[in-house]
Amino acid sequence: MIIRTIRERFDAWTTLITIALVVIGIFAVYSATFDARASDTFHKQVMFAIIGTVVMAAVIFIPFRILQLVSLPAYALSILMLVSVLLLGKTVSGSTSWFTLGALRLQPSEFTKITTVLALAAYLSRSDVSLRNVRHLMIASGIVVLPVALIMMQPDTGTAIIYLGMFIPVLYWGGASSFTLVSIIAPVVVAVAALLGTTPFLIAVLATGALLYLTKEHRIVAVLVFSLTVLIGISVQFMYDGLKHYQQKRIATFLDPNADPLGAGYNILQSKVAIGSGGVFGKGYLQGTQTQLNFIPEQWTDFIFCVPSEEFGFLGAATVLALFAVLLWRGVALGATVKNRYGSFVAVGITAVLGTHIFINIGMALGMLPVIGVPLPFLSYGGSSLVAALTMVGLLLNLYANRKEY
C-alpha cells in the first residue's frame, strides 16, 4: 500500500535522470579542473550538489497551494534582490551578478528565473485572465520584462535570453493567439537574420509578412506589427554598433569562427575540436587533451559539455543529450497531466527554462549558436545554477506527486 503510494506519487524517471546528470556533471567538473589548479572547484561542486539535493527534497514536500500563494511575494523578493545586486553586487568577469551572503556568493538571477515562472503561472492561472486580452497580455509580459530589464543592466545577455525562451512556450501553453506569438518571435528572428546579411533578412521579413497575413488579425494591427518588425531588423545594425566590443565580437565570430581562430573565435573552435576529436568512443576519462590541457577557457562552466563529448565521444555526448531530452519530455507530459492549472503552467515554464538553457548551451558548444554565457543545468560548475536547477526538478517532482489534485 505504502509502496504503491510511493510509486504513484514519486517520479522515479525524473529523479534518476537528474541524479545521473548531476553525477556526470561532478565527474566532468573533476576532469575539467583535474590539474589541481582549481581542485577545490570539484569539492565545492560536490557540496553544491548535496545542498541542491536537500533543497530539491524539501521543495517536493511544500504543498503547492502554498507555493501558489507565495509566488508573487517570492517574485517581489527576488526583484528586490536583483536591484540590490545592482547596487551592492560583486563584479565577476565584467558583470555584476553576484551577491555575497556570508561565505556563499549567490547569483539572484538564477533564482529569479524560478520566481518569475511561479509568478507568471500564478497570474495566468487566474480564471479571469486571458491572453487574448491585450491588457492581461501586457501584465504577463511585464512580469517577464521587469527582471529581464534588471538583468540586462548587470549586464547578462545570456540570462536575459532565457526569459524569452521561457516566455514563448508559456504564452503558447496559456492560449495566446498565433498573432501574439508571431509578433513576439518575428522581431527576434528578423534581428538575427539582419546580422547574418541582406538575403536572410529579406527572407525573414517575407516569412513574417506571410505568417502575419495567415493569422487573419486586423489589417491595421498586422501592418503595424510588421512595420515595427522591419524597423527592428533595420535598426539592429545600428544597435550592433552600440554593443560592447566583446558582444560584437561574439556575434561576429559566431558568424565565422575561423576568421580569428586565436582571438574571439577561439572558444568555439577549441570546443568543436574537443568534441570532434572525441570520435565515437572518446579518449577515455581524464584523457581528453583539450580538456586536460585547458585549451577551452572556463571549461568547467559554460563549455562543460565538451568534457563528456571529448572523453566519452559520441556515445557519451549522445547519452547526455538523450537524458536531457527525456527530462524535458517528461516535463511537458507533466504539464499536460497536472490537473491544476497553476501547476500546469509551472511545469511547462520550468521545462521551458531548463530546455532553453540546455539547447542554447549545447548549441553553443557545438558551434551552432554564438557564445552566450548560459550554464548547462546540472553539469556546469556553479552553486547558484546547480541549486536552482535542482530546485526546479524539486518543483516538477512536487507537481508529479500532486498531479491529480485540482
Binding site: A274, G276, S277, G279, T289, N294, V332
Partner: protein, 612 residues
C-alpha cells in the same frame, strides 16, 4: 473550462514534443557530423594543439677510406634557434647585436618559420663560437624563446681535400623541401655535391621525435606516455671508400698551383683510388655556416675551383687516344700488327697537311705507339674509317657516362657519322676530319675519369668494371657491412689485340725512344702513353694514361695538366710518382725531374706529417 483546457493541452503537448524531438535530433546530427564524419580532422587539430613534437636530428654517417681511416667525421656545433610562440619580437635588435646578424634577416627567418609552425624552433644561426654561446647563455632571461640546439657539423680529418669527391652539405632550399617531401624541414642540411649528395639517403639517417604535452600557453607539461611513443633518431650509415687517402693527399700535392686532374683506379675492380681536381677548395669552410662572400668568391673564380675537372671537363685526349684507334684497327681486322707505314714527318690529305714531330721512317704498330708516330695513325684512321672507330670508342666507354657514384659527370663527346652529319650537314664534313681524330685531336672530348677507365681496360685486358668510390656501407642497426656491387663485364675484344697494344705502351715507358720514360718507376715495369692535346685557348694540355705493374696491374691512372705542354714532361712524371707512392706506400726515388724540383720541399713536409 478546465476540461477544454485539458483537451487543448494535449494538442499543444504534441507541438512541444515535436520541438524537443526536433532539437534533440538536430543536435545529435551535429554530434554525428563532428564526432564521426570530421572526427579525424578535429583529432588532428587537437593533437596539433596539445602535442609538441621535438625533432631529434640524426647524426650523419661518417666516411672511411679503403684502409679504414676515418676521413669525414662529425663535430658538435651549436645552432641558435628562436621559437616564435615564446619569442618577444622587441628583442630582435638586441639579439641581432649578440649574434652579429642583420635584424632584417632574423625577422625574415621568423616570418617564414612562423608560417610553418609557431611552436617549432627556427634555426637562425649555425655553428656559433663559444664566446657567442656564453653571451647567449648569460642573457637567457632577457631573450625568451631563444635557445640553441646541438647539431653536428662535418669535420675532415685528413690532409687531402678531396673536395669534389666528398662534396658538401648545405641547408635545404624551399624548392627541395617541396620536392623531397616530409623528411626535410627548413634548416635541415642536405648533401649538395659529391658523395654527400649521391649517398644522401644512406648518410642522412632518420629523424627521431620526442612528444611533449603542452598546455594552452605552450608550456611543456610533460612527456606523452612517459616517452614510450618517442622515436629515437636513427644514425646515418657509414661509407667505406675504395680510395686511398694517402695517395689522394699526395696526388693533390703534385698538382699544387696547377690546373688539372688525376684519377687513379684499381683495374681489378674499378674502385677509384684517388681523384684530384685542381684548383679545389677546403670543405671545412662549408661545414658550419658558409659565409656568402666565400661562396661568391668560389663561384666567381675564373679557375672554377668548384668545378670537378676529373668528371666534368671535355678535353681532347691527344695521343693517348692512339691505343683506341689501334684496338679498333686490329680487332676489326683492318690491319695486322705487322702493318707498316713509312713516316716522312707529315701526311697530305687533299690540300691539307698533317704534321708529325719527327721523321720516324718505316714503323709498325708497336713502334708507332712507342714513338707516338702521328703519320702512322693518320693513315690508320683513314684506313679504319669513322664508323669502326666510333663503334670501338663507344665500347671503351667514350661519349657515355661512366656511372660513377659521385653525382656529377659529363659524358664527353665521341663523334660519329650521325653526329657530324647533324653538326655540319650531310656532306658538310670530309675525310679530312679523320686524321686529326686518329690522334685524339679535333672534335672529341673526354673526361680524365673516362681516360682512367680506358687505362684500366688496357691494364686488365678488357674487363670492364664500373668505376666507383664507395666500397661498402656500414649500417648501424643491425651492424652489417654491405659491399656494394657494381657492373663488371668482359668487352669481348681478343686477348691478342690487347697484348700488342699493351706491349706498345710498355715500350713507351720502359724502352729507349719511348715518350713516357719519365713515368718509369724502379722495381717493376710500367706501361702508359703520353698525350699533348692542342688547345686553341693557350698552351697544350699535357696527358698521360698508364698502369703498373705491367704483369699484374694494380693501379691504372690518368693525369691531365692544363697548359703544361708535353705529356711526356709534365703529366708522365706525376703519374709515375703516384704509382710509386701507391705501390711502395712512399716515394723511393731520389732524383726528381726538373719541372717538379720546387715541389720537393713541400712534398717532403706533407709526407713526414703523416695523416691521422
Amino acid at each position: 473550462m478546465t476540461q477544454q483546457f485539458d483537451i487543448e493541452l494535449y494538442g499543444k503537448r504534441r507541438v512541444l514534443y515535436t520541438v524537443i524531438a526536433f532539437l534533440t535530433l538536430l543536435y545529435t546530427g551535429r554530434l554525428y557530423q563532428l564526432q564521426l564524419i570530421y572526427s579525424d580532422e578535429y583529432g588532428r587539430k587537437s593533437e596539433e594543439n596539445s602535442i609538441r613534437t621535438i625533432t631529434k636530428e640524426p647524426v650523419r654517417g661518417t666516411i672511411y677510406d679503403r684502409s679504414g681511416m676515418l676521413v669525414v667525421d662529425n663535430r658538435p656545433a651549436f645552432t641558435v634557434t628562436v621559437t616564435p610562440f615564446e619569442f618577444d619580437k622587441n628583442t630582435v635588435p638586441y639579439l641581432s647585436g649578440l649574434l652579429q646578424l642583420d635584424p632584417e634577416f632574423i625577422r625574415e627567418r621568423l616570418h617564414k618559420g612562423e608560417a610553418y609552425s609557431r611552436f617549432a624552433p627556427i634555426k637562425i644561426k649555425r655553428d656559433i663560437d663559444f664566446k657567442m654561446l656564453s653571451a647567449l647563455e648569460e642573457n637567457r632571461d632577457r631573450l625568451p624563446g631563444v635557445d640553441y640546439q646541438v647539431e653536428s657539423k662535418r669535420f675532415y680529418t685528413t690532409h687531402a681535400y678531396a673536395a669534389h669527391i666528398l662534396g658538401y652539405t648545405k641547408e635545404v632550399s624551399e624548392a627541395q623541401i617541396k620536392s623531397l617531401g616530409d623528411e626535410y624541414a627548413p634548416g635541415d642540411v642536405v648533401g649538395a655535391s659529391g658523395l654527400e649528395a649521391q649517398y644522401e639517403s644512406t648518410l642522412r639517417g632518420q629523424k627521431g621525435a620526442e612528444f611533449s604535452m603542452v598546455n594552452v600557453r605552450g608550456q611543456v607539461i610533460g612527456r606523452v606516455e612517459n616517452g614510450r611513443n618517442d622515436i629515437p633518431a636513427v644514425e646515418g650509415n657509414n661509407l667505406v671508400l675504395t680510395m686511398d687517402f694517402g695517395l689522394q693527399a699526395f696526388a693533390e700535392s703534385l698538382l699544387t698551383d696547377r690546373r688539372g686532374a688525376i684519377v687513379a683506379i684499381d683495374p681489378r675492380d674499378g674502385g677509384i683510388l684517388a681523384m684530384v681536381s685542381k684548383p679545389d677548395y677546403d670543405l671545412s669552410l662549408f661545414s658550419g655556416v658558409t659565409p656568402p662572400e666565400l661562396w661568391r668568391a668560389l663561384n666567381r673564380d675564373e679557375a672554377a675551383p668548384l668545378f670537378n675537372r676529373a668528371t666534368l671537363t671535355r678535353y681532347p685526349p691527344g695521343s693517348t687516344f692512339k691505343m683506341m684507334l689501334a684496338i679498333a684497327a686490329v680487332e676489326s681486322g683492318t690491319i695486322t700488327p705487322g702493318w707498316r707505314v713509312n713516316c716522312g714527318g707529315a701526311l697530305r690529305v687533299g690540300n691539307r697537311v698533317f704534321k708529325d714531330l719527327h721523321v720516324h721512317g718505316s714503323v709498325d704498330l708497336v713502334t708507332a705507339l712507342q714513338k707516338s708516330c702521328n703519320v702512322y695513325f693518320y693513315q690508320l684512321m683513314l684506313k679504319v674509317g669513322l664508323d669502326t672507330w666510333s663503334k670501338y670508342g663507344d665500347e671503351l666507354g667514350f661519349g657515355r657516362l661512366t656511372g660513377i657514384d659521385i653525382y656529377e659527370e659529363n659524358p664527353g663527346l665521341l663523334p660519329t657519322a650521325a653526329y657530324l652529319d647533324r653538326r655540319y650537314g650531310r656532306g658538310g664534313w670530309t675525310r679530312g676530319f679523320l686524321p686529326n681524330l686518329g690522334i685524339g685531336q679535333g672534335e672529341i672530348g673526354v673526361t680524365p675519369l673516362q681516360m682512367t677507365v680506358y687505362a684500366a681496360l688496357l691494364a686488365n685486358g678488357g674487363e670492364y668494371h664500373q668505376p666507383h668510390i664507395v666500397h661498402a656501407i656500414i649500417t648501424k642497426s643491425p651492424r652489417t657491412i654491405d659491399t656494394l656491387s657494381f657492373q663488371s663485364r668482359p668487352l669481348g675484344i681478343a686477348p691478342a689485340t690487347w697484348a700488342v697494344i699493351r706491349e706498345g705502351m710498355r715500350r713507351v715507358v720502359e724502352e729507349p725512344g719511348g715518350t713516357g720514360s719519365m713515368a718509369r718507376v724502379s722495381g717493376f715495369e710500367s706501361a702508359g702513353k703520353t698525350g699533348t692535346a692542342q688547345n686553341p685557348h693557350g698552351p697544350d694540355h699535357s696527358w698521360y694514361v698508364g698502369f703498373a705493374p705491367f704483369d699484374h696491374p694494380r693501379i691504372a691512372i690518368a693525369v691531365l695538366v692544363e697548359n703544361a705542354g708535353f705529356g711526356g714532361t709534365a703529366a708522365a712524371p706525376i703519374a709515375g710518382m703516384c704509382v710509386e707512392r701507391y705501390l711502395y706506400g712512399r716515394l723511393i726515388r731520389q732524383e726528381f725531374p726538373t719541372p717538379l724540383k720546387p715541389l720537393h720541399a713541400a712534398l717532403h713536409e706533407r709526407e713526414t706529417e703523416e695523416p691521422r
